[in-house]
Amino acid sequence: MGITERLIEDAGLRRGVSLLTPEKIEKTIVAVLQGETGARLKTYAETCMRCGMCAEACHFALSHPGDPSYTPAGKVHQTMSVLLDKKGRVDPDFIYGMAQLAYTECNLCRRCVHLCPIGIDTAYIMSTVRRICHKLGCTPQYMQDTAHSHASTFNQMWVKDDEWTDSLMWQEDEAREEFPGLRIPLDKEGADIYYSVIAPEPKFRTQLIYQAAAIMHMAGVDWTMPAQTGWDNSDMCMFSGDFEVMGRLKRQHFESAQKLKVKRIVMGECGHAFRSVYDVGNRWLGWRWHPVPVIHAVEFYWELIQEGKIKLAKKFPGPVTIQDPCNIVRGRGLQQKLREVTRFLVEGDIIEMHPNMEHNFCCAAGGGVINCGPPFKNVRVEGNAVKAEQLKATGVKTIITPCHNCHGGLHDIIHHHKLGMDLKFLSDIIYECMEKPEA
């Protein structure tokens, strides 16, 4: 039982491990443990009573009943506990398994916090394991590719500078047919709202930029998008353990907003990016809070609705269910606002999944797991059978979830389990139902 019995071949991990020596491993592990960790890791390692209560928390564990190697404590037991016990004296093969486990079998979703009486943050422990793997050069190939893209282009998807502005102008051009007078204002100084997105939006979900522009236009929002780097708020470096590049990305994002002297940053419907900008990157940069206020799209839409700026021509036919994205629910407490926005938009009931809100199950794509690519797809799809059961039990056709990773993860679960359900962003529904100019 354990990770050694389910190793998956990955080019990045294999090559990274092939270059390791026991000396390098020990030196790196000791350097990270002594240099970058402190009282948190020490107390967590010492006071975990090994009670096993967290087994009930993890979707991976619940989807593999009878296999304790998927429980949160079981995962720590196979990774960080060994590093601490052996003081870093482990062999390269161990690093392969440790990396596969940390990158692909934990979404860093923090549900286990709700089941640990002592309040141990397993996500922090697994992030530290990933940090060590990154320092050892043992990262999954696909995830490392996105990290390289971040490092070279400041965005996740190798989008070139001209392609970025091209995509925005293309969407503006398209949208002006439907919304005469619509603009996607680039680099507008002093705008109320700086709207940032993740790189997959210009790359292959460009309609989301169209929809956001339509909503901003109809709501009369004073907004802008940056023409230069900093526009991508996503962050795979946070998940790969490349905190140095993570810091550069977040600095670029905030500084781009500061240069434009905007009042606030509104982030598109993505969870991990929000975690990175709102909770993680700022700390790495030594900022307690953000130099420019940051809000997630859910909160932004909620505000627009409160101010009466979103006018609907019709309501979206329900019933629907809601997938709570971990990073804006356990990460920002937006569960009630998400429901209020949904109730405003939908005709009919919200059929809740159970558990939900801050006790929700993760989509199993988050935490960078989906970014580890095709070799590990089945790890997350089969590792989230409980989500499939949850979705099925609602009996509805439509799932609303304001998060790119949740979309990616649930899309694969829906197909694998033949659930025949549709996934919607809030902006999909707002765009579909809002008042539009007479064509």
């Binding site: 039982m1 404590a73 009486p117």
Partner: protein, 219 residues
Amino acid sequence: MNAAYEFVTGPLAWIAWGIFLLGSAWRLISMYQLAKKKDASSWAFLDLGFSLRSIVNWLIPFNALGWRKNPLLTVTTFAFHVCLVAVPVFLMAHVALWTEFFGLSYATLPDNVADIMTLVVLAACLVFAGRRLTQKDVAYITTGKDWLALAIVALPFLTGFLAYHQVFDYQIMLIAHIVAGEIMLAAIPFTRLSHMVFAAFTRAYMGSEFGGVRHARDW
């Protein structure tokens, strides 16, 4: 035998209490210094109100999700911890010792109640041990340190129970009981039992993060 009794209730008791109190203080202070030095990005978010909110919510049985999902362990662990603290502190025979040595006197538990509470502790230890042996997810993560902590806690209660009921030789059992109790005290700062010292702070930190930054419950 008298000399042995004198020794375990005299110098050894001072040593055990000394290790417990000074050791706990040293662990807390050095952990505080380490946290200030290495965990600044966590330390900055500590908040008394949110800490207490989290601690209180976790002190209510079946309130937190973790408790609701593990009913047997919840009942066991609450009963265990209450008895574990109350019996040694309020046992009539123990209070008599405080009176004898320091002239201190305070409320006591009736002996028959303390007897039942001792059995509760021992039964809870059996439940904990049973889970470690038979429940796969617990067995998988159980280490020697966990068995050691369990044994250190069970022994003073087992020997105390046997001594009170005068099973085997009373004198020997009494001395064994005192030594076992002293081992437990001295072990608190340096074994898994250190969660007695640290758990409030790990909980407080998580409560502060969830309350002040994430604006969500952590229970």
